[in-house]
Symmetry: C2
Subunit: 430 residues, 2 copies
């Protein structure tokens, strides 16, 4: 693609696709300056042609069926911004790659599920599949791992990967409001999906990002093994308050590491020290911490979501392609990427924060501490807070390090205890 | 360079060059896996062939005169790790580029002084000139600006760019030791040059990095205008202690920004809030904060110095070249890079921390406050700490925002005041 114009298609014109389109239009000269290439937006497609959008679209290049764009127009680079893990998103991306069209996408659901298959397609057809925007938009973390830290031996990558959850937890602490009322506020502000925020709140979104990070950091295929994936739906203001008294904050962390060569991926709420770096990443901010040799610890922080940060990442992918950097999507040839061996998460160990809502009557605490003793989990600290009106009490237990399998048994044993009134809240310490 | 071996030369085998050589030797397979290229270390050169080094060198490929390597051997990629701003460093790099050899260097002194000239040479000869390691080793900040944030409109980049100074300031706070004794410790630990740490301590090293950051962030030629460059040599434990009582920490910041399109670069000690992000980057850590549109604020933190972090950056440059990413060294063609227009630093304004050592006698404070009033600098806070033994006192003044030109006049007027016993300490607030 030497001197001719580069034809671009944008599929999906929601918040992200629409913002991107405006960036492409306003930065044409800058792009030419930095890459020597002229871009031309040749076609756009979305579910609705006429819905109200922040930036006006050029309806004369609108095509109803995105697959028609691939078949009938000469496209060089296609942006997929629909966002499904399968269905039309997958169809558009695979058809484009098969037709030797470079693809750029922020779609973490698609990449974490079908990334191996799609990167194979890209490699075979000698085009790029770029997905910098799929993890922590404003932070060029994938490029940093693939290029900036390329020959380091990485052993751990972790961080705050979901801006929605981090906003909710920070805002609950600040306003002392309940989970549900802060969630509503997040939806009004556009930080959480108005319809179905479930995939953010239950940890799925962060987990998809963890999978992409693992495969890049450790040069493996994307794992499909089940692992610890817990969200923040059960966290109450009470937990944030008690954690604060103990000098902790609650953060939803995504963590991936190699333990004796075995892959251990997880997402769960975590008690982190208030004065730690990660404990001070608040609001919609994302942060990623990379540990490797010889580089030591590198930290990257930036806006994790929103059309601005996401477009920044999409544009960086575009420039990479226009500069002629044809690369393996995961940094090395697919046939060299082996399947990871999974670490048995039952062997992991953590100190635990356990909050139980119990009947306020004699013998209850002793019954509970006995359950811990039965599972050989030793207690570091107990706090009992009575609620005289409800004739109940909150019991908070901080344990010493406990093996995950024992912790699971403990949680199960709580179910049979009739003095425990609600589902226990369990938060791991970091 | 398709299937043939890539011949590599390493010039300079001090701490960095020696560590790099070991990385190259141990990571050959990894490099081939990720780039498809086999590397071969064809020649090395240094002042001394036989001095004791951490990793043994292969003396059979040692060449006394580095220029002989360029003339007599077929080299594809050359690492310059000597570190001078001129002299043999410049000669080696320009000769290599003229002979169509890619050059990789961590040499900030060279790049900040001759970067425009050398990048022109590289462009003309269609080879790469890579210098990721010249700024904040463990943080891929140059790549992030050139690629990860490529089409963002950046308006400010700042941070802690000198690990030596940051270590000294952190250590003084922690141990309550004097500047000179902490400096000695830094030298023993290898954080500060044993012979001449001046270029770290007087701000020159950080300033060279600021210049490189400016040219990349704002797509301009490297400025050569004088600007505010102050180091930490005059800071005493007393200042750290008083700052701490006021809830501040002292950090040496490098700052570059565009003010109405004009470039304002500076390096000086700065009072930053203790609970701010930058106030908590301690020890040898570096941190860079980038503000741009649409990405918002991005933060990168990592080890700023040491052979491990520096080698990590040098290796990332190597992989970039091996992957075939031929790029403009400053992100766009040299003829498109204009000279920056400089902001007149006399118009900048800051709140100031001023510490004066004065005679402890009546009327002194009133004389000093009169000097501030004469320069129309208003006072926010005054602290007077007597030293009865010496019959002197420390006066610390925090001012409201004052224009730089007035602050300079004020400092000059202090010189004529016979009650002021020592050179005043001036630290700007951030």
């Amino acid at each position: 693609m030497t001197n001719k114009k580069i034809n671009i298609a944008v599929i999906g014109l929601g918040q992200i696709g629409n913002y991107l389109l405006n960036e492409l239009n306003t930065k044409k000269n800058d792009i030419e300056l930095k890459t020597g290439r002229k871009i031309h937006i040749a076609a756009i497609s979305a579910k609705s042609k006429n819905k109200k959008r922040r930036f006006k679209i050029n309806k004369s290049i609108f095509v109803k069926n995105p697959l028609d764009i691939i078949k009938k127009k000469k496209i060089d680079i296609l942006f997929e911004a629909i966002g499904q893990s399968d269905g039309i998103s997958k169809k558009v991306v695979e058809t484009a790659l098969k037709n030797r069209i470079h693809v750029i996408t922020p779609n973490k659901a698609l990449i974490s599920k079908h990334g191996d298959y799609l990167s194979n397609l890209a490699e075979k057809n000698k085009v790029n599949l770029e997905f910098e925007a799929s993890v922590a938009g404003g932070i060029p973390i994938l490029r940093t791992i693939k290029e900036g830290l390329a020959t380091n031996k990485l052993h751990k990558v972790y961080g705050i990967l979901n801006g929605t959850c981090n906003y909710i937890l920070s805002e609950m602490e600040k306003t002392k409001d309940s989970f549900s009322s802060v969630l509503k506020k997040a939806q009004i502000l556009g930080y959480a999906e108005p319809g179905n925020p479930k995939l953010d709140l239950n940890g799925y979104d962060a987990f998809a990002k963890v999978r992409i990070l693992s495969s890049l950091a450790f040069n493996k295929r994307i794992s499909n093994k089940k692992c610890i994936m817990e969200g923040i739906e059960n966290i109450e203001y009470k937990d944030i308050e008690i954690a604060s008294q103990l000098n902790f904050r609650i953060k939803l962390l995504g963590i991936t590491e190699l333990i004796n060569g075995k892959l251990f991926e997880r997402v769960h709420p975590t008690l982190v020290k208030k004065d730690s770096y990660i404990g001070n990443v608040n609001g919609v901010m994302n942060a990623v911490i990379v540990n490797g040799h010889p580089v030591g610890e590198s930290v990257l922080q930036g806006e994790g979501a929103g059309p601005g940060a996401t477009s920044s990442a999409l544009m960086s992918d575009l420039l990479s392609i226009l500069r002629g950097n044809i690369k393996y999507p995961f940094g090395l040839p697919n046939f060299k990427r082996k399947y990871p061996i999974s670490y048995n998460d039952k062997n992991s160990s953590n100190s635990l924060y356990i909050r139980l809502e119990v009947r306020d009557k004699p013998g209850v605490l002793s019954g509970i501490t006995k359950l811990l003793a039965n599972n050989r989990i030793s207690i570091e600290r107990v706090i009992q807070i009575p609620d005289h009106k409800k004739k109940s009490a909150s019991i908070v237990i901080i344990t010493h390090k406990a093996i995950e399998s024992k912790s699971q048994k403990l949680i199960n044993s709580f179910k049979k205890n009739i003095n425990i009134l609600k589902k226990p809240v369990l938060i791991r310490l970091f």
